[in-house]
Amino acid sequence: MAEHDLTARLAAHLDRHLVFPLLEFLQERGIYPEEEILAAKLRLLAFLRDPQRVQLLRPDKQFNIHILQERFQIGPDQIEALYDDAKFQFECGYYSDVTAYLHHYRVLSTNSERSVRALWGMLASEILTRNWNAALEDLNRLKEIIDLMNSSSPLNQLQNRIWLMHWSLFIFFNHENGRNGIIDLFFQDRYLNAIKTNAQHLLRYLAIAVVVNKRRRNMLKELIKVIQQERHSYKDPVTEFLECLYVNYDFDGAQQKLMECEQVILNDPFLGKRIEVGNSITVPIRDEFFENARLFIFETYCRIRRCIDMSILAEKMNMKYADAEFWIMNLVKSSKLDAKIDSVSGTLIMTVSRVDVHEQIIDSLKNLNMRTYMLAQNIVDMSQAAQQADRGD
């Protein structure tokens, strides 16, 4: 399963501190040999601990700042010291303080570049302290700043966007409104371009978010376009599933890919988050993904068919015959599906809805009528206004 693991690719764009939770997750899943992860962790820890040796200096510095703050005689040097101190705290792992420090720093500082860096720091520490709402705010603030960075090179901007997207994964898969957020953010032209250029692996998260989010089905088309374009540079079962279903209409292939998706989702640090409900452990994203994916398959399948054998359908949907029948009955009843079950032959017969040609013609002409009317109205208004103006003069 390790071949679909993205941790290495993700880690390149994350702060070292942010990598830590990912590694822990991997350890839990046991995909990689224990020693390897431990080695990686140790290296990280060694790095994280190292500053602690210098910690002795800290109280002193902090004290100074404190005093100065109290007397309101803060010079720029002291403000910079505040930043350094926050950085230091962060490296030591005291994330909760960092946010406050950096907030003050941002208020006081005039150095815009460092202020941006401070914002990144705040974001990181909020993510690490699981303060998702604040993190989301910071994320949006950062996004604005990045979009306004016209002066810096495009490459720099691109890099910043990619970082932002990676960091945002933490937020979006934890925040309650994150699933809309991720689609909104990633589908923005610039971010989509950034994904296409340098971070194709993010397509997995985008794909899952789109599939899971029922209200954003209209983005699917665009997503598939992107997936197809990037086929040569990135693919995993999730993207392949969508490709099978919507490009090749290969239902067997889609089915197979769907099975593979399960492992991918479970092994992904962001997607495979578990929630204990009572005594059973569920992975919410997996469940939702499967539910929606099944619906996708079913919809597409029905759309191009007039008559379907229920047993094959059940098999395709990875359900028992009775379950499938019940599921379809529900759909029909809730009038989501325009079909009838012929239970003697065990088939589902779709009602073919045909658009009337007359209606089509009328539709296309109705619109014209309205537009022309508006145009005429506007012109008349304009000329009247002109006339009045003339008379007024």
């Binding site: 371009n193 250029t197 073919v352 089509q360 296309s364 537009r371 145009l375």
Partner: protein, 929 residues
């Protein structure tokens, strides 16, 4: 020993004679002189032989005596001749004698081993001067002279004036104390030994060579007596200055001479080749490395001057010498890192005087990059001018590594001194020699370059390498000896890609805009020929090159066109038909591919080119080995168009949608109008035949016709491509069949389809499903029986017409709205968003564009086609700009610009850019006639 040396002397003299005979074009008098000298030589030989016979032991002494005497005697006799000539007022013979005298002077001086010129000579000069003044004063006599005599007089006047300047003091002295000069010249011959005789004899040779080449240069036979002799005269002077002991040549002398030669540039009567020879000679006697370098620069630019015309090219021999000189320059620069080549700093007068042991930096004016670029251009030009089917062409092509090695060394040097901008320029030159080579060709070149020198040289032997080698051996040993430090052989990494990557990263970092753009294009080209379509495409789009093509120079535009062609071929090989068509369609939309790719001049019947335009165009041509096979390109384009257009035509029997490929439609119309359809001959015929078969759904015949084309042999992975083509033809045949005949069926079993079109069940299913989903086919599957059940949704004729009307009306409304907007500057309120993009969807350009036009959820019956484009086209990838989201489809934008660019391409004058459209029509007519 002495005698043998003497023999050697005698031989060298007779050799000299032979050479002079060889230079037959020279004047008679020259010949005579030579023979005379030769004759005397033989006489002496006899004399000496006798002496040898009688007494060997003391022959050495006598020999020397006789030689010295001989020289002096000769001189004396010449002076006598001159006197005689003066008496009869014969300026022609006087002039000859004068030349002879000057020539002998050098010999005498050498024999005498003194820097002083013989008194006899000075006296003769004085005599001449006086006589000349007298003759000039006597105007009447002058008028009476024959024309040749008068001419000689004038020439003499000039020459004497020039010549006498050198000997001013002596002449002055002579005039003051004529009596001291009365003594016989022989007296001042000292008793030096003839140590230097050998080297002296050798030194003569470059002079002879000089006069040889000069003789070649001559055109006017009347000028004969003046032309060659001037040269010798000059050489004479040079020798006088430089044939001395090395220690006596000072920096100043060399510098003075250099300035003199440099100043002579472009003056009448100075042969270009001769200048090169003179300068080359100077490099040998240069005193300091810096001076040598300076002179070498002059040599190189003189070599570039050899061919003055823009159209012609530098002679290959000179080019080679030039390459060697460049290497020499690099050797010097490598050995003396304190010498800096610069154009910005105005060097001090005496800058180059600083010797090899000088520690500070020495500035020498020169531009290595300019030289290198010129060298490259000359190489390119030779290839342009050479007939590609001759051996010469291949021979010339084999010399490419020689240039590459210079380029490599120059680049290394520039990187070393930190001039990275210039290094990037050089890197670009290297890239431009490599980018069009697929790995196989690259390997061949590498092998050629790595061959031991001899085997390479073998072939070159006839072309004149050897004489050159001999040249190098003659002349005095250079004062400043520079060992060959820089490698003389290029080193190539294993794959062309690695080489390209290395150079690219340098260029991207330090190159200027044009360098970067060109390098990028080369890079894309190289990716395309190595079958990496996606990489090439991404590079093209990310670089935004299309936006700027029309601003680039013509050669870059040509490069861009080549890139597009190659990209199209690459996409085709990868089976990406739509992309391939998109790349190629622009090239073919005007029918002037040859011109766009600079692969030959196309004659247009309707537009006469001025000779000026033609010449410009000829100068832009690509050398043959860089050509893209036009037949292959045409076949690719037409096949792509066929695969797209045939189902499209079948689908739209009712409403005539805009064709995807107008060119193809036009060709099809032409071929349909033919009364008799013969067996296909050219590429076009083949594709048309295939189209006819495909139209009927006969995929087998279509494929067999297409695959019978010869050009597929050119493809590397031929089998693979044909396999792909077969599959595509089957798919499109299936689609065409369904479009055309679906109305005739109530239902159709999948089995039947798979057997008819020889496709796998899954594949056929997928294709049909796709058509259903996109509402191209109004049908659905009946799963238990595996049948396609068709719904009859046929429109009546009236309904079809109504749709047409609706379309047209909406276009009308839209243009009204646009007009309103333009007038008021605001948008209409309360209207649904217009779908402007959709109106263009079916145009071939729109296909690239549509992916960026959002929200085409509506669109009624159209969405079928739009959807298809969206489903299968990857055009969106072409729009991959970060930061600049405002621009629409990069490709389509590029397309129109590309056309603009073409306007310039055609003629080099932007004035003609506008009439492209009109001419396209005329071309159209040409096709039909």
């Amino acid at each position: 020993m002495q005698s043998s040396r003497f023999w050697g002397q005698g031989d060298s003299e007779s050799e000299e004679e032979e050479e002079e005979v060889e230079s037959e074009q020279g004047s008679d008098s020259e010949d005579d002189g030579g023979r005379g000298a030769g004759g005397r030589g033989t006489q002496n030989r006899y004399l000496k032989t006798q002496e040898d016979d009688s007494d060997e032991s003391d022959s050495g002494h006598r020999v020397i005596r006789s030689l010295r005497d001989k020289r002096n005697d000769e001189m004396r006799s010449i002076v006598d001749q001159m006197r005689n000539a003066m008496k009869i007022n014969d300026w022609v013979s006087l002039q000859e004698s004068f030349e002879k005298l000057n020539k002998h002077l050098e010999k005498v001086v050498r024999v005498n081993e003194s820097t002083e010129i013989p008194k006899m000579y000075t006296k003769a000069l004085v005599l001449l001067e006086d006589f000349l003044a007298e003759a000039l004063a006597n105007k009447e006599a002058k008028k009476k002279m024959s024309s040749s005599n008068a001419k000689a007089l004038n020439a003499m006047k000039q020459k004497l004036k020039k010549n006498n300047k050198q000997y001013e003091d002596q002449i002055q002295k002579c005039r003051e104390h004529p009596e001291s000069f009365e003594d016989e010249a022989a007296d001042d011959i000292d008793d030096d030994t003839d140590d230097d005789e050998d080297s002296g004899a050798e030194i003569e040779d470059p002079l002879e060579v000089g006069s040889d080449s000069e003789a070649d240069d001559k055109e006017d036979p009347d000028n004969d007596n003046t032309g060659p002799w001037t040269t010798v005269n000059k050489k004479d002077k040079m020798d006088k200055q430089f044939l001395k002991d090395p220690s006596e040549i000072t920096w100043d002398i060399v510098d003075k001479k250099l300035k003199e030669i440099v100043a002579s540039r472009g003056k009448k009567g100075t042969g270009r080749i001769e200048r090169v020879e003179q300068l080359t000679f100077l490099t040998r006697v240069a005193k300091t490395p810096a001076q040598k370098l300076e002179i070498l620069f002059h040599v190189i630019s003189a070599q570039f001057d050899v061919n003055p015309s823009l159209l012609g090219h530098m002679p290959v021999k000179v080019w080679k010498k030039c390459v060697n000189n460049m290497l020499l320059v690099l050797d010097i620069l490598q050995q003396y890192p304190n010498i800096v080549v610069d154009t910005s700093v105005e060097p001090d007068e005496k800058e180059t005087q600083k010797g090899a042991d000088y520690n500070g930096t020495i500035h020498v004016t020169g531009d290595l990059v300019a030289f290198l670029e010129r060298l490259d251009t000359e190489f390119f030009k030779t290839l342009q001018c050479t007939d590609p089917y001759t051996k010469d062409y291949v021979q010339r092509l084999r010399e490419e590594p020689q240039f590459l090695v210079v380029a490599q060394n120059v680049q290394d040097y520039l990187e070393r001194v930190g001039n990275l901008k210039a290094a990037a320029k050089v890197a670009l030159r290297r890239v431009e020699l490599v980018y069009y080579k697929p790995q196989e060709v690259y390997d061949a070149m590498r092998k050629l370059a790595e061959q031991p020198e001899d085997s390479v040289e073998e072939g070159d032997a006839e072309t004149g390498d050897e004489p050159q080698a001999m040249d190098d051996n003659r002349g005095p040993p250079p004062f400043v000896v520079i060992p060959e430090i820089v490698p003389r052989k290029p080193t190539f990494p294993d794959s062309g890609r690695t080489l390209m990557d290395g150079l690219m990263s340098l260029i991207y970092k330090y190159g200027d805009e044009r360098t970067k753009a060109r390098a990028m294009l080369c890079d894309i080209y190289h990716h395309a020929i190595s079958d990496e379509f996606s990489v090439a495409r991404d590079l093209l789009l990310m670089s935004h090159l299309q936006d700027g093509v029309q601003l680039m120079d013509i050669s870059s535009q040509i490069l861009f066109n080549r890139v597009m062609a190659q990209l199209g071929l690459c996409a085709f090989r990868a089976g990406l038909i739509n992309e391939a068509h998109g790349c190629l369609t622009e090239l073919y939309s005007t029918g002037r591919v040859k011109e766009l790719l600079a692969q030959g001049v196309q004659q247009s019947r309707y537009h006469e080119k001025t000779p000026e335009q033609e010449r410009l165009e000829r100068r832009r041509q690509m050398p043959y080995h860089m050509h893209i096979n036009l037949e292959l390109l045409e076949a690719t384009h037409l096949i792509c168009a066929m695969l797209i257009e045939v189902p499209n035509m079948a689908a739209s029997t009712y409403d005539k949608r805009r064709p995807m490929s107008k060119t193809f439609r036009r060709l099809l119309e032409v071929s349909e109008r033919q009364t008799f359809v013969g067996p296909p001959e050219n590429v076009r015929d083949h594709v048309m035949a295939a189209t006819r078969a495909l139209n009927k759904g006969d995929h087998q015949k279509a494929f067999s016709v297409v695959s019978s084309l010869e050009i597929w042999k050119l493809l590397r992975n031929r089998e693979h491509v044909l396999e792909m083509l077969k599959l595509k033809i089957k798919e499109e045949a299936l689609r065409t069949y369904l479009f055309s005949y679906s109305s005739c069926y109530e239902s159709l079993s999948l089995n039947q389809l798979t057997t008819m079109f020889d496709l796998s069940e899954q594949h056929a299913h997928s294709i049909v499903s796709k058509m259903m989903m996109h509402e191209e086919l109004h049908a659905s599957w009946d799963q238990p029986t595996k049948c396609i059940v068709f719904h009859s949704v046929d429109q009546t004729r009236l309904q079809g017409l109504l749709f047409h009307m609706a379309d047209k009306l909406s276009v009308l409304v839209e243009s009204n709205e646009r007009a309103y907007e333009a007038k008021t500057g605001g948008t209409l309120e309360g209207l649904p968003p217009r779908r402007r993009g959709e109106g263009q969807d079916s145009s071939n350009l729109g296909r690239w564009q549509e992916n960026f036009v959002q929200g085409r959820q509506g669109g009624g019956n159209r969405s079928g086609y739009a959807g298809r484009g969206g489903g299968s086209g990857q055009g969106g990838g072409y729009q991959r700009d970060r930061g600049n989201q405002g621009s629409r489809g990069g490709y389509s934008g590029g397309g129109s610009r590309f056309q603009d660019g073409r306007g310039r391409n055609q003629s080099g004058s932007s004035a003609r850019g506008g009439d492209g459209g009109a001419r396209m029509v005329s071309l159209n007519r040409t096709g039909r006639v």
